[in-house]
Symmetry: C2
Subunit: 249 residues, 2 copies
Amino acid sequence: MAARHEEIAEELRQAIDREDYTVGSLLPAETELAAHYGVSRGTVRQAVAALTAEGLIGSRQGARRVVLAGRRSQSFTELCSFAQWAHTMGREASGHVLSSAYRPATPEDSARLQLPPGAPVLHILRVRGLDGERVLLERTVYAHWIAPAVERIEPGCPSVTQRLYEDEGLVFAYGEHLIDAVAAGAQDAELLGVRRTSPLLRVRRVTTTREGRPVEWSDDRYRSDAVSFSVHNSTGINALARKTGPAVS
Amino acid sequence: MAARHEEIAEELRQAIDREDYTVGSLLPAETELAAHYGVSRGTVRQAVAALTAEGLIGSRQGARRVVLAGRRSQSFTELCSFAQWAHTMGREASGHVLSSAYRPATPEDSARLQLPPGAPVLHILRVRGLDGERVLLERTVYAHWIAPAVERIEPGCPSVTQRLYEDEGLVFAYGEHLIDAVAAGAQDAELLGVRRTSPLLRVRRVTTTREGRPVEWSDDRYRSDAVSFSVHNSTGINALARKTGPAVS
DNA sequence: TCCGGCTACTTGTCTGAACAAGTTGGGCCT
DNA sequence: AGGCCCAACTTGTTCAGACAAGTAGCCGGA
């Protein structure tokens, strides 16, 4: 937290959280904030841009910024590991590896992980819990260049992401997530302790290093009674497109 | 598309889509792009910041930017109506109102829509289709100040959002979405044409005007075999936090 | 050969300024 | 009273420059 604009963003977040600015009220003007914090307008703009991206405040040309949301939930647009996520909610994450095996990469594997076809990839089946209750079933495929480090981790490690950072300096920086719902199969039901055909929230994801190199891809199934995701969004430039663009069917 | 930085962002998006820059390759340096487009570095930075937010490219201090994703899917972080969404996928949206009734606002309604308790709110039950196939069941509650305009819309209108813009100049600018999975109930099953207990993707959302005024909130249930959502994300400052912060359990 | 440091390059941060474009509210005119 | 217009305010866009901080590749020494 060295950058001044991040400090200011954090102060504003806390002020909103404290309800110094209530939902629906207006933020001070950029020039006022700039004078208050003793920085230039550009720096203030960087700070409020962050809050806008998070969906905390709304922005339009000519009008003061408005506070949209108060309590800040763990948003999906912030990538973090299961253990981190649990931590921010004040709960304790656990994990347990059920199976671990090398197989040659299928065409799907090599496409997603940008590997040559047939390269050995590590398949891991892992159950994860929140405060001891099983909530998530992970079927993960790791690229061969990280697989040995993954194998070295003990089966009950609560945060694989954390361990890979500590041991290898590997940071999971980017993710793409595909979300849908599926019915629990026989294996899902048994391992998660739910009835067959129970609805599960499925997240298929690919995770990438800071260099843009894919590390793993995974099929994660969450017990929908225990977990849900939140997403903030906005039209951005789309409002303009809707004004001038062709009619939408 | 007046702003120069948006034009540049769009050109870069198309270049990535055309695979002038393939996935995993490096983008030109900011100074090169600035010289190429004849703008200052700040303008280029705005353009690439947009692509970074969309998850198309990755960025780290000291190293050139890297292309992360190629084909651009309809991301969840772009708020758009069901009809717009269908349009971008080249499919045709339809809609049909099944019931419409005023009720006094429950405490939940008044909290979500920022209305006085007991204000009349309009409940609408609507089935929506993609190319004629039923895929979505919407249970929406509209605030009293927009309800008359909603009632005036014919029951078969494919895009309520579009109509509210045309008739009232109302733009849905911000949204908050809560995503989970549920089993289809009796009514869900009948209206969507699926078996009871089929998994459905549920999205509970609140939509807000540009001024930050809540317009509607809705419980949307999607047939999970027909629809899925995608989300890009990144660690942002979290990579730093992970370095210096306390151990994560 | 391998490891170290050094250097050139690249992105991140911040400033101060100027103008464009949109919003809001008050005052004036009808 | 109602409606219109304008003026003050606010955010959006863009520029040019300076320095900080991190990366990657080159080169030399052990």
